[in-house]
Symmetry: C2
Subunit: 232 residues, 2 copies
């Protein structure tokens, strides 16, 4: 079924965690942080699942990939489980992030305070417009895209965020890859092609709205819906 290799300690190796589970770990982490701040010391899978918006069977299955961190009949120690998940995700250390494309969205991202507490530090802002080089946003001055290599090297960036228009995105991705970045978060409406070993995640606002529209259309059908089709 699941070809989990096992370590000496009996825990499955990290790469054996299913993608769907990996995508939920940050949600559990956030819920545990909130529950911990509210003073809770111990939490059951039922409680934590509710806080995370999933069912408890899925939560327990997900946690079972990390190891056996609960106590039967009792539940999970909030702080201990929080620490284990944070370690598994890799956010006990800080990751240095470079943002490319300092338009409205790039600025909003650079100002967002929530990244810091979640393991990310924005260490560089880069843009293709030479006239904006040196412009300050908080502590950071905009650098030019031609200096990307140097910026990435000097500041140890391991994640690149693309917030350019769609037609610039592939070029930026190529430069990021050339400078050694192997993790990219893409906000530009474009399909990126990257070499094997480079991870790209995309956040596409129009696509999210279109998925909502698809379902909305079926909840409240438009007044006029033509089913006639002109054969091409």
């Amino acid at each position: 079924m699941n070809q989990l290799r096992a370590q000496a300690n009996g825990r499955p190796v990290s790469s054996g965690i299913p993608e769907a589970t990996v995508a939920r770990l940050p949600v559990y982490l956030r819920a545990l942080t909130a529950l911990g701040e509210s003073g809770l010391r111990t939490v059951s899978s039922e409680q934590l699942a509710t806080a995370a918006g999933v069912n408890s069977a899925k939560l327990r299955k997900d946690l079972s990939y990390l190891g056996s961190y609960g106590t039967r009949g009792v539940g999970y120690d909030v702080e201990y489980l929080r620490y284990q998940i944070a370690r598994e995700i890799g956010v006990n250390q800080d990751w240095a992030v470079v943002i490319i494309g300092i338009g409205n969205l790039g600025q909003a991202l650079s100002n967002y305070g929530g990244f810091r507490s979640r393991g990310f530090r924005i260490v560089a802002l880069v843009d293709g417009d030479a006239s904006r080089v040196g412009e300050m946003h908080g502590d950071l001055a905009i650098a030019h895209i031609d200096d990307l290599d140097q910026v990435v090297r000097e500041r140890g960036c391991s994640i690149g965020v693309i917030a350019t228009p769609g037609d610039a995105a592939q070029g930026v991705a190529d430069r990021l890859v050339a400078s050694g970045v192997t993790s990219i978060l893409n906000f530009a409406p474009a399909v990126l092609t990257v070499p094997a070993g480079v991870d790209v995640r995309k956040v596409d606002l129009s696509i999210e709205l279109q998925i909502l529209a698809y379902h909305e259309q079926r909840k409240r059908p438009p007044l006029v819906q033509s089913e006639e089709v002109v054969e091409s």
Copy 2:
């Protein structure tokens, strides 16, 4: 296997389209629009799949849920297929969108020009800060959250975008639902609880970065990784 009901015309009814397929239709739509603008009249599943970043088997399977819009031995008429997909998604008409929370992100979203051409019109900006009511952003003045009902009704909003801090999000969602909105795009880092029949999609930037960090950690292991664990 797949309990597709069929209409008189033999096409599966809309609600029979798998979610994974629905999520890709906007990607195909965008690729077709770009190919059409480049002058291409006909496209094969192989070409379109490449442009959309998927494999051709998946593309053909996805399109088969919509109907039989291709010609064997030839391919798909670009404009005809583009129209059919747009109709299926529901973006041949415009959807009115209200943004709640006009901070950095809310402003960036309200300024983004790409929504208009993709079937969405931002018709209202709403914030909880009374001192900002009336503030202009483009053509739109900020309204107060207490007037949400009226705004939604008068401007026919069918989609709400939440761009508030996390702790305000559930309250805003409750108000949106109360005012009749049944589709919500949530940018706040919070799990939303809504009644059945209301769709929520979430865009969570920290979560996306954490998923990247998980994989990055396994590509370049940190210099010091403690495996020792203090039992709680």
